[in-house]
């Protein structure tokens, strides 16, 4: 990439003199050293996957007496808020309580029996998680939930 010697450039091959060659080598070594130092640093700063930290097992959240029919509770399950709903016809459901609109944590609207996001009045169906009204773009993702002998377990596969 250096300017060539005018004597040699007349219709001939472009020349690479020794100085230019050595300079390219030097530049290459400097750049590769910098890359070699920066790669581990950037890799290190990039947050590692948290999968190693108990990505989620089944968690005992309570009994049916804790959450009677027509009630719901927001509980931390594997570090994330989950709303566990026991509908008036005894169906237990669980959804991520993080509103799909802007990430507020939803609550239970006891009087009218739906899941309500207090930030912008987003409303979700308690049985399916589907949006009833308001700005949320998508339904609340459901979370696995099972009832065994009156104990409610949520999370896990």
């Amino acid at each position: 990439m250096r300017e060539s010697d005018p004597r040699e450039s007349e219709g001939r091959l472009p020349t690479v003199d020794r100085r230019g060659f050595v300079r390219s080598l030097l530049g290459f070594s400097i750049i590769s050293t910098i890359m070699g130092v920066l790669t581990p640093i950037i890799g290190y700063l990039w947050p590692p996957a948290r999968s190693a930290r108990g990505g989620g097992g089944r968690v005992l959240v309570g009994t049916l007496t804790d959450i009677p029919p027509g009630q719901a509770e927001v509980l931390p399950i594997n570090d994330k808020p989950v709303i566990v709903v026991n509908t008036q016809d005894n169906q237990v459901r669980a959804f991520s309580a993080i509103c799909t609109h802007l990430g507020c944590v939803c609550e239970w609207e006891d009087r009218r029996q739906f899941i309500l996001c207090p930030c912008h009045d987003g409303r979700f169906n308690a049985l399916t998680g589907a949006v009833i009204s308001g700005p949320p773009p998508s339904p609340l993702p459901s979370v696995e939930v099972v009832v065994e002998d009156g104990d409610i377990y949520a999370g896990g596969a």
């Binding site: 581990p40 640093i41 890799g43 290190y44 590692p48 190693a52």
Partner: protein, 250 residues
């Protein structure tokens, strides 16, 4: 192609001139860099390597502090996390550990070289004293840093090490309590060792290194060849050394 070259060459140059006009950088750089070195000086690069290792320790140390958690509950786990989960975490921590040992080795070798060459003699008394204090700070880094992983070796080596302070006559117990933040090694010890290791010592060392280097810069490197005559001549030579180091108007 020629135009391109001109472009690449001019713009950085222009920017440099722009800055230089405002801040007189050229002069500053000359004063910083135009120090003649006696040809017979032989530093073996030991001091420079020590400085380089300090730089490595600073960088890797800052990186480690991003994931390290200085509490007894979390310290060990966070080191495991760095070693196993963080990309290159094992490498960064291993470099920090090796750098610590190498820095102490090169500090000592640097001191021995200055001793053998008699470079501590007038007019460089204060440079020597700053250097000895730097070695002490470096050892302090080693002592405080050793506890941070909070494993068995760290905990008990610190127990035994700080016990030594308790043997000082009269003030032993007070010194021990001050060191540990109480009579035993607890969460308080860990957090004060952490604070010392990542804030107090780095600031102290950086300042002292700056002083050490300014003193070297002002006097120039010592010439280990035999001075002739009396100690008065020696001071004369020292004065000359400072003149040579300080002059920069070529």
């Amino acid at each position: 192609m020629q135009q391109k070259d001109v472009f690449y060459r001019t713009w950085p140059l222009r920017f440099w001139n722009w800055l230089d006009k405002r801040y007189a950088l050229q002069e500053f750089l000359h004063a910083l860099v135009d120090v003649p070195i006696p040809r017979s000086a032989n530093t073996l690069y030991l001091g420079g390597i020590t400085l380089f290792l300090f730089g490595i320790q600073a960088i890797t140390g800052i990186l480690l502090s991003i994931y390290y958690q200085p509490t007894p509950e979390n310290a060990y786990g966070s080191i495991l996390f760095i070693m196993n989960d963080v990309r290159f975490g094992w490498l960064i921590r291993s470099i920090h550990a090796w750098g610590a040992n190498l820095m102490i080795i090169f500090c000592i070798l640097h001191l021995l070289r200055v001793f053998v060459q008699g470079a501590y003699k007038p007019p460089r008394e204060l440079t020597w004293m700053a250097g000895v204090l730097l070695l002490m700070l470096t050892l302090g880094f080693g002592f405080t840093g050793y506890l941070l992983p909070w494993d068995q070796r760290a905990f008990w080596a610190t127990t035994v090490g700080s016990e030594i302070a308790g043997a000082i006559p009269l003030v032993g117990q007070a010194a021990l309590n001050f060191l540990r933040g109480g009579p035993e090694i607890t969460a308080l010890t860990l957090s004060r060792f952490f604070g010392t290791h990542v804030l107090v010592l780095p600031v102290g060392l950086a300042l002292l290194v700056a002083i050490h280097l300014v003193m070297v810069h002002q006097q120039g490197l010592a010439d280990p060849t035999e001075p002739t005559g009396s100690p008065d001549d020696l001071l004369q030579e020292g004065a000359e050394g400072s003149r040579v180091g300080g002059s920069d108007d070529h």
